[in-house]
Symmetry: C2
Amino acid sequence: MSRFWSKVVHGLTPYTPGEQPKLTNLIKLNTNESPYPPSPGVLEAIRAATTGDLRLYPDPDSTALRQAIADYFGIARDHVFAGNGSDEILAFAFQALLNHEGPLVYPDITYSFYPVYCQLNGIRAEHIALNDDFSLDLTAVPDHAGAVIFPNPNAPTGQSVSLEHIAQLCRRLPDRVIVVDEAYVDFGTETAVPLVKDHPNLLVVQTFSKSRALAGLRVGFAIGQPELLAGLERIKNSFNSYPVDRLASAGAIAAMEDRAGFEHDRQRIMASRAWVNEQLTVLGFNVVPSQANFVFARHPQRDAGELALALRDRAIIVRHFRLLRIDQHLRITIGTEAECKALIEALKEILA
Amino acid sequence: MSRFWSKVVHGLTPYTPGEQPKLTNLIKLNTNESPYPPSPGVLEAIRAATTGDLRLYPDPDSTALRQAIADYFGIARDHVFAGNGSDEILAFAFQALLNHEGPLVYPDITYSFYPVYCQLNGIRAEHIALNDDFSLDLTAVPDHAGAVIFPNPNAPTGQSVSLEHIAQLCRRLPDRVIVVDEAYVDFGTETAVPLVKDHPNLLVVQTFSKSRALAGLRVGFAIGQPELLAGLERIKNSFNSYPVDRLASAGAIAAMEDRAGFEHDRQRIMASRAWVNEQLTVLGFNVVPSQANFVFARHPQRDAGELALALRDRAIIVRHFRLLRIDQHLRITIGTEAECKALIEALKEILA
């Protein structure tokens, strides 16, 4: 507390990101990064952009990056918004599009940044409870919702909802903004981007930090009709004119164009996920069926916090959330094949 | 206007950044970038960081970057905050530190983003009028101020206030936050950083976009006592955990360490400023004495808007603000020696 702080600051409980350890010999399965590096073409594009032109501001409209994203999805560039990671875009969306008289509705178990954005913006939230198997039933969204947001697949559970259910929700609440946070969509979930043309109330948010292996560059994007994007732009241009820098833009454009590398890596990650799933099940874990680049699992006989510590002792870090309903689960990022093996070996030791 | 927008969006008049033209054959004297590229060591540091590690999130605390800044100023790292350009830091400061019961006080002629931040945060502003020569008298700040912000040197006028006057203000309003926005400080103004140790209410904000030639990377920083920085951090960590990316951090660290290149370039820019000043005066302009990397000038017989258009016809772009008291002035960035010559030649033609 401080006499120098504005009133809003005193009430905040900021988001805690997963640890970014300074040690390099750890197996890092805690923040859902890609286990594979960006492709050589991406690194080459960044090096090519590392010139004296860095003295100049980037394009405030990220025109070239938005065009590359539009081309990938086969949509118009005016349906694409770019930002400093999908977290920044979510922050803009909470302020620009999700603050209404009715409550903002989201799942009780979900991305733990959502309640923080609500605090920051004074938004009243209402939760819908996930089913016992952690599946999300969108018909449970109440008609009095002021707006709706959910990740698809959900985090940290990894479960998806179908496009049909999303379209139904958009039709049922045509005057309410529906944000689908697709950070993990590329690991087995269908994207809602094709629904955007029919639903002016739908905003789809994606990131370069997971399936596109560029968490270190901070780039995310949103796809929606221009009316929604104009709201985001008004906030962005009242906050920071140039959030996407020249090198981040160059790297993201090259990543978007590298369809083969993208496809190759996501298939590998999904194959490793199937293997981890199977191995964990053999070890007695209950594993939530995941469409993400992580699994969410609990062991019926072992405390999740203790398991996380025991893994840490073996130089493997996973994520444990001390939150209602999920404090006995671990969220484990799918690593390389070797990292997945090391994880299973360590768990065998710990459980022995 | 849209039914999908939150209430705050409807009342916003976003900031308009200076044009970033796509044409490369223009002489760009409109957004106060450095005319000289970052040093080879900076580009080399970025290339060295362009590795597979870009798949990993950056350090959310920007520890290494903050240490490099702390070392430069000879202060402790816990007195340094880093962000995605000084605009992002200002945005955080308006939300975290400048929203109080009393009005936020700033000059009537100043950085035109300040009123936008006020709109976004619902902050009541009160202006103090610059003197006729555009100098800023800090004794005019009223005792009922809730907080104070001003650029030093001021923009777009280029005039500075002394450290003694800043210290006086900090002492006179010990319970009020005073933000000194030092975007242009390295071109002839003394930094207020040494005052921070004695004034827990003082926040100094700087950027890598001007004197450090990295506008394309988006890095800025603030220096203040930990109590003030904790307010910024709470907002930042409720907004976006990792705003400074890996390459921006690598480039900024190298730029901070390159003292010789920094010194060399800023001396060249100040020498060119003196020459431009002299030449403009010969051409009949009234030139405001500038401590920044731009000059602010008017011609008593020629309309500023027409002059800007005539320069544009000759492929030179400068900044013209259609604002009260300054709509007959042009703000002209100091370019390379050749660009400065081309500017003066073009003006000779236009005025002939």
